[in-house]
C-alpha cells in the first residue's frame, strides 16, 4: 500500500518542519566538523600558533606514531568486547523480561536504572569497586582468605574493568530496544513451534533470534559507534594507565589536543575517528538493508 500523496502545500509544511533541525545540525555539527577538517590540514599549535603550513603531514604522521597505532588496538579491544558483552547481556535480560507478566513487570524499570547514571559517576563507582583497598568485593573475599587480583594495574585487567563498567552502564539500551522488538514478534510463532515439538531453546535460536537479527545488528552498530568515543571511563578510572595501556584513540586525541597543545594533530586523529566510524556505519547499514530486503 502506498501512502496517500500529500498536497503541494502539505509538502511545503513538512519541509519547513525540517528547518530548525537542519539549522541546528548545520551550526552545531556540520560547521565544527568542517572546522576540524580544515584544522587537521594545518600545523596549528595552541602555544606556537600556525606557521602557514597546509598539507597532509598530520595524516602521514598518524601511521608512524606508535602511540596512535597502539591506541587503535586498545580502542578496538574496548569496542569489540564491550559491544559483545552488552548485546549478549542486554538480549538475555530482554528475553527474560519479555515473558514476565504481572507485578514483576516492575523489574523492567529496575533494570533500566544504570542507564540513567552519568558516565563520570559510573566511572567513580567502578573505580572504587576495582580499587582493592576500597572495594567491598575484595573485603568479602578477604574474609575467606581469597585475594581478588587488582584489575587496574595490568593492561588486560584495566581493559576488562572498563568493559565491565561500560557494559553495566549501557546494557539497558540494548535491552530496551530488543524488548521492543520482541513485543513485535507474534506469540503464534512460538506456539506453532511448540506444537511442532520444538523445545523452547530451539525455538529461541531457530525462530526468535533470526527475527531479532536486524535489531541486534542496528543496536550493535549504535553501541559500537558509542564505544569508539570512550573517554570519561578512561579519564576517571585509569588516567590512560597503567603506563599508556588504556589510551584509546579518542583519549589520545584529547591528550594531543589539550595536554600537548597539538591542536592540528589532535584534529587529524578526530577526523580519522570520524571517517572510521562513518565507514563502519555505512557498511553495517548496507548489510542491514540487504537483510531487511531478503
Amino acid at each position: 500500500m502506498t501512502p496517500p500523496r500529500a498536497s503541494a502545500a502539505m509538502d511545503r509544511t513538512y519541509r519547513r518542519m525540517l528547518w530548525p533541525a537542519s539549522l541546528a545540525v548545520g551550526i552545531f555539527a556540520i560547521a565544527p566538523l568542517l572546522g576540524m577538517l580544515a584544522l587537521s590540514f594545518t600545523d596549528f599549535h595552541l602555544v606556537r600558533g600556525w606557521s602557514g603550513k597546509i598539507g597532509i603531514h598530520n595524516f602521514l604522521r598518524l601511521f608512524e606514531d606508535r602511540r596512535f597505532v597502539s591506541s587503535i588496538y586498545i580502542m578496538m579491544a574496548l569496542s569489540a568486547f564491550g559491544v559483545l558483552a552488552q548485546v549478549v547481556l542486554g538480549t538475555a535480560i530482554a528475553v527474560g523480561l519479555d515473558k514476565i507478566v504481572g507485578k514483576w513487570r516492575v523489574a523492567r524499570g529496575i533494570f533500566v536504572v544504570p542507564f540513567a547514571v552519568p558516565h563520570v559517576a559510573v566511572a567513580l563507582i567502578w573505580l572504587s569497586l576495582f580499587t582493592p583497598t576500597l572495594s567491598p568485593i575484595n573485603a568479602v573475599f578477604a574474609v575467606f582468605g581469597i585475594e581478588v587480583p587488582a584489575l587496574l594495574t595490568t593492561q588486560t585487567g584495566a581493559i576488562t574493568a572498563i568493559v565491565i563498567a561500560d557494559t553495566w552502564a549501557t546494557y539497558p539500551f540494548v535491552m530496551l530496544i530488543v524488548l521492543a522488538a520482541l513485543q513485535g514478534i507474534s506469540p503464534d510463532l512460538d506456539e506453532a513451534a511448540a506444537l511442532d515439538g520444538a523445545t523452547r531453546v530451539k525455538a529461541f535460536f531457530r525462530i526468535t533470534l533470526p527475527l531479532l537479527y536486524p535489531t541486534l545488528l542496528m543496536v550493535a552498530l549504535f553501541r559500537f559507534i558509542e564505544t569508539l568515543k570512550h573517554f570519561p571511563l578512561i579519564f576517571v578510572m585509569t588516567s590512560g594507565g597503567p603506563g599508556r595501556a588504556t589510551q584509546a584513540t579518542n583519549y589520545y586525541a584529547y591528550v594531543q589536543t589539550f595536554q600537548n597543545s597539538n591542536v592540528a594533530y589532535g584534529a587529524s586523529i578526530a577526523v580519522f575517528l570520524f571517517l572510521f566510524a562513518a565507514a563502519i556505519s555505512f557498511y553495517i547499514a548496507k548489510a542491514n538493508a540487504r537483510l531487511s530486503d531478503a
Binding site: P20, T133, E147, L152, T153, Q259, S261
Partner: protein
Amino acid sequence: MIKVTRRALTATLLLGSTVLAPMLAPGAAAAQAREVNVLLFSMPSTRGLAALADDFEAETGIKANIDVVGQDVFESRITLSFTGGARDIDVVHTPVIQVQRWVEAGWLEPMTAQIDGLDDKDDILTGPLEAYKVSGDYYGMPFFAETGLMAYRKDLLDAAGVGVPETWDEMLEVANAVDSDDTAAIAMRVAPGQGFNMFVFPMIMRAYGGKFFANYPDDMTPAINSPENLQALNTYITLMNDYGPQGIGNFNFPEVVAALQNGQAAMTVDGTSIVSQAVDPAASKFADQFVLALPPGGPAGRSPAIAVHGLGIPAGTENADAAFEFVKWATSTETLSKLAINEAYPDFTRASVAENPEVQAKYAGVQENFLDLRVEALNLALGHYRPLIPTWPEIGAAIGENVNAAVNGLMSPEEALEAAEDEMKSILAY
C-alpha cells in the same frame, strides 16, 4: 515561499537568542558596569574565595562573578576562550605549571607595575611570587603554595622498633620493618600524570641527586636516564610494589588518603593538603597516631614538592583595573586569613597570615609545629621542582606514563627512563 522561509528563520533565530542570551549576558554587562568575571578551578581555597565574593563588592563596589569549575572543564573552557579571543574572563586561575606556556601563547597580561606598586609586596612569599616571573615580568599573584610532607603512624613505627626515616634509603628499611598483612607500610600516588605521580616522584629523584635537565635553566639537555634517577625509580618501585597496598599501581590521591584514614597504610609522602587529611580527626580513624614530618632526603638533601597556584589577568581584557583590584583583594592578608580560618587552607602565600592568632590556633590543632614545618619545607623546596618551561605539561605526562609503566611492570626501570629520555628529546626538538 521566500516570506515563509524568512519567517521561519526569524522564529528560529529568536528561539536561539533566548537560549544564548543568558550565556552572553555576564560578559556584556561587565563591559559597562563595574564587574569582573573570575574563572577558578575547584579547590577548598577557591570555593572559599567564591563564598567571600560579597565582601569584595562591599569593599570596592565591584561585583565579582566567580565561576568555580572542575579542572577538566577549566582546561577546555580557557583554551576555547583564549584561542577564540572571547575576552569573557577578567581574572583566571593560573597554576604556576602553566604560566610559561600561557605567556608564550600570549594569553596573559603582565602585572609587574601593579605588583611592584604594592605597599606590602615584601610580605608575599618570595619563592611562589618569583615563580610567576617570565623574562622579567610578573604574570600572576600566588594565592596557594602547597609543599610536600611525610605522614607516619607513630604507633606502628614504635611497635616495629624503628625511627622516623630521614632518607629514602632509610625509608626502604623502615618500610620493610613496618609492613604487615594488616597495614601496608607506605602508599603514594602512582597514577600517571604530571600532576599525579609526577607531583611526588621528583621528591625521590631529587633526593638522590636526579634531575630532569643537565643544568636547568642553562643547559636544557634531557638528563632523565641518569644513574641517580634510576636509583630513585628503583626505590619508588620497591616501596610501592613490596610495601604498598594492593592495587597501588593505579592509586591517585583519593585512594592514598582513604588508605591512610582507614589504617591500610602506615606512611605517605605527598602535598600538605593530602597528608593533613591523615591527621584530621573528623575523617581519619588514626588521626591521633599520625605525625607529620619533613619528607625523607638523600645524598642531595631533601626536596619537598611544591605546587603553586595564582591569579592571572588574561591578555586583552577590557577590565584590567577592576581585575587587578580583585587580584589584590583575593591575595590580601585579610582575605587569605579569612580563608585560612574558614577552610582547610594552610597554603597561604603571605608570611603575615601565620602571625594571626586565630590561624595559629587552628593549625596548632593539626599538629603543634605544623605551620613551622610547612615554612621549613617551603624553604627547602626548589622553585623549579617541576621545570618551569612551556613544554612541561607534555614532558611531565610523558615521564609520568613511563614511570607508571615501570611500577606496574610493563617495562623495566631502565627501559622506562630511556623511553622518557627519547620522548623528552623529541618534544623539545619539535
